[in-house]
């Protein structure tokens, strides 16, 4: 929609900001002028140290494999989360009986700290891929669920009415009105869910793993390698940001009909 020049500028702006931040960090950590160092590089690391660690991770240790494993787990959890979240959201919206009865149970479940579930998760799902997918799902699901459910409550009632007059079936109403109406809510949820499914997969790997970013994190932490810890955290952050940007691309396709708001 926007000409490509402005896109180009945007990227320059982002990059400039990132560079400034990295330079400041490097300087504070003493990487530029050693006498001027305010941060202890052990816990604050520094861009150059992280860079070196990233080099090792990517070119000597094939961290790509870990990335793909974690991504796969997160993705599976996310897809399950979307499907089940939308489905249950619809069920709750359709049935007053179900929703009023079960609502408190849903928020109770969502309040359970996932890392504390580890022993039970091992018992239920083992420490194979399923425990990771389960944890990714358990974080992604609730956002999508609540957003679907509450999104439906804000649908324009007249649009529902026109469907009823046309004698549309429940399924048609769902497909033609409800799903498109909650798309903006679902996408709002997706920005969070994508990140959460990643976090969930990694927490799952904390339960015990042979591969994956979580596995690498356990190592770095167990062996006191703070640079590597930073590098890995950075890798996860970039994964998350990339996925969310992807989601936004898809979103803009779906929401093309919506006029832009300027404040």
């Amino acid at each position: 929609m926007k000409p490509s020049t402005s896109n180009w500028k945007l990227h320059v702006r982002r990059l400039a900001l990132l560079m400034m931040f990295l330079l400041l960090w490097e300087a504070l950590a003493g990487g530029i002028y050693p006498l001027f160092s305010l941060l202890d590089p052990f816990y604050s690391s520094s861009p150059s140290r992280i860079g070196r660690e990233l080099y090792i991770l990517f070119f000597q240790e094939n961290v790509l494999k870990d990335i793909f494993v974690t991504l796969g787990e997160a993705f599976a959890g996310l897809i399950l989360g979307i499907v089940s979240g939308v489905a249950l959201g619809l069920l709750f919206a359709y049935s007053e009986l179900v929703s009023s009865t079960l609502e408190p149970f849903m928020s109770a479940l969502n309040s359970i700290p996932r890392p504390a579930l580890a022993p039970l998760v091992i018992f239920w799902f083992g420490i194979g891929i399923f425990s990771k997918i389960f944890l990714a799902w358990s974080l992604a699901f609730f956002v999508i669920f609540y957003n679907t459910y509450l999104g439906i409550k804000s649908i324009d009632p007249d649009i529902l009415n026109i469907m009823r007059v046309m004698n549309a079936s429940r399924l048609q109403i769902m497909r033609i009105v409800i799903l498109p109406s909650v798309v903006s809510w679902i996408f709002a949820g997706l920005r969070l869910s994508v990140s959460y499914s990643l976090i969930g997969a990694i927490i799952g790997e904390f339960v015990g793993a042979t591969v994956g970013i979580g596995y690498q994190l356990i190592y770095a932490e167990g062996l006191l390698m703070s640079d590597r810890l930073y590098a890995l955290v950075l890798v996860v952050a970039i994964m998350g940001a990339t996925l969310v940007e992807l989601v936004k691309r898809i979103e803009s396709r779906f929401l093309r009909w919506r006029p832009e708001i300027i404040l």
């Binding site: 660690e53 339960v207 015990g208 042979t210 932490e221 167990g222 062996l223 006191l224 390698m225 590597r228």
Partner: protein
């Protein structure tokens, strides 16, 4: 060298990444193949998680702190120690260097903060034990702070959030090397070990489940064999060579530091992994004394000595 075994078995072995488990790493790196075992290694962020995975059958063997076995047995989870991997207790009581002039012995910790990993873990039990021995009441005279695993422990100590920690390697070595902290208690010092726990302890052990032993005695036999070969290897070869074998498992760690740590723990690597009753109880006493264990679990119950033999 033992000739390669004909039939291969696949097993899963897990632990928390730590150099005190060097025998397991060396065994996986060099000897499992020779005994006909296809070993998959699995990392856990804490011993409790590795223990849970073992109990539920997700892994077949774990190198663990001894404490986990009696805790599990008291809950009717039949884990068995099948081999000793370390004959010293690994914990050291490290104090921030700034306090060198103030804290000269354990009872000087009164009014300060002591960090340990997590309640229920070995470091907690020994923290309490050390304090009680010095006549201090944990929680009252000394504030007890759960600070998690090594990196948070290090951060907490360095930033002065705690004054002392119950540390293990590589943190202990690193703190001593850098001079950021000094050891008030160092159980790698034979004298102190004798004083607090006796001649020998059994701090790190190879563990499996009872049902696994009865169903697969052959596999257990082979895994133990590989471990014994590893013990021998570590004892015999010089630290540099051992460090080189370990390095693939400790990527990103300086080889020099690795070598230093290997040197430090070498002393504690047992000859043959045989299971000593007195060493077992030496480790158990503090746990019972501090209440981490409700009651004692007998040597006979916790240990299966058929594979490495027992000593008094």
């Amino acid at each position: 060298y033992v000739p390669k075994e004909e039939t291969k078995y696949s097993v899963k072995i897990g632990n928390v990444p730590a150099i005190t488990y060097a025998p397991t790493y060396v065994a996986i790196a060099l000897f499992m193949d020779d005994v006909g075992i296809n070993a998959t290694y699995m990392a856990f962020p804490s011993g409790t998680k590795a223990r849970e995975a073992l109990i539920t059958g997700e892994i077949d063997f774990a190198s663990l702190s001894t404490v986990h076995v009696p805790i599990a047995r008291l809950k009717d989870r039949p884990l068995k120690i099948i081999m000793s991997l370390h004959s010293r207790e690994i914990f050291s009581l490290m104090v921030r260097s700034e306090l060198r002039d103030v804290v000269k012995e354990v009872k000087d910790l009164k009014g300060l903060r002591l960090g340990f990993s997590a309640p229920g873990a070995g470091s907690w039990a020994f923290a309490v034990y050390f304090l009680k021995k010095a006549g201090l009441e944990p929680g009252k005279d000394v504030e007890m702070v759960a600070v998690g695993e090594l990196s948070t422990m290090y951060t907490a100590l360095k930033t002065g959030k705690v004054d002392a920690v119950i540390a293990w390697d590589p943190l202990t070595t690193q703190l001593m090397e850098s001079g950021e902290a000094y050891a008030l208690i160092d159980l790698y010092d034979p004298k102190q070990h004798v004083e607090l726990l006796g001649e020998e302890a059994m701090s790190q052990v190879l563990v499996t489940r009872e049902d696994f032993i009865s169903n697969n005695p052959d596999i257990v036999e082979r895994v133990v064999k590989a471990h014994r070969m590893a013990l021998e290897f570590i004892k015999k070869e010089d630290a540099r060579k051992v460090a080189e074998v370990l390095q693939p498992y400790f990527k990103g760690m300086e080889i020099a530091l690795l070598e230093k740590v290997v040197n430090r723990i070498k002393e504690a690597i047992p000859e043959d992994g045989s299971l000593s009753e007195s060493a077992y109880y030496a480790d158990l006493v503090p746990l019972i004394e501090v209440g981490a264990l409700e009651k004692s679990v007998s040597f006979e119950e916790a240990v299966d000595w058929r594979f490495v033999g027992r000593r008094p």
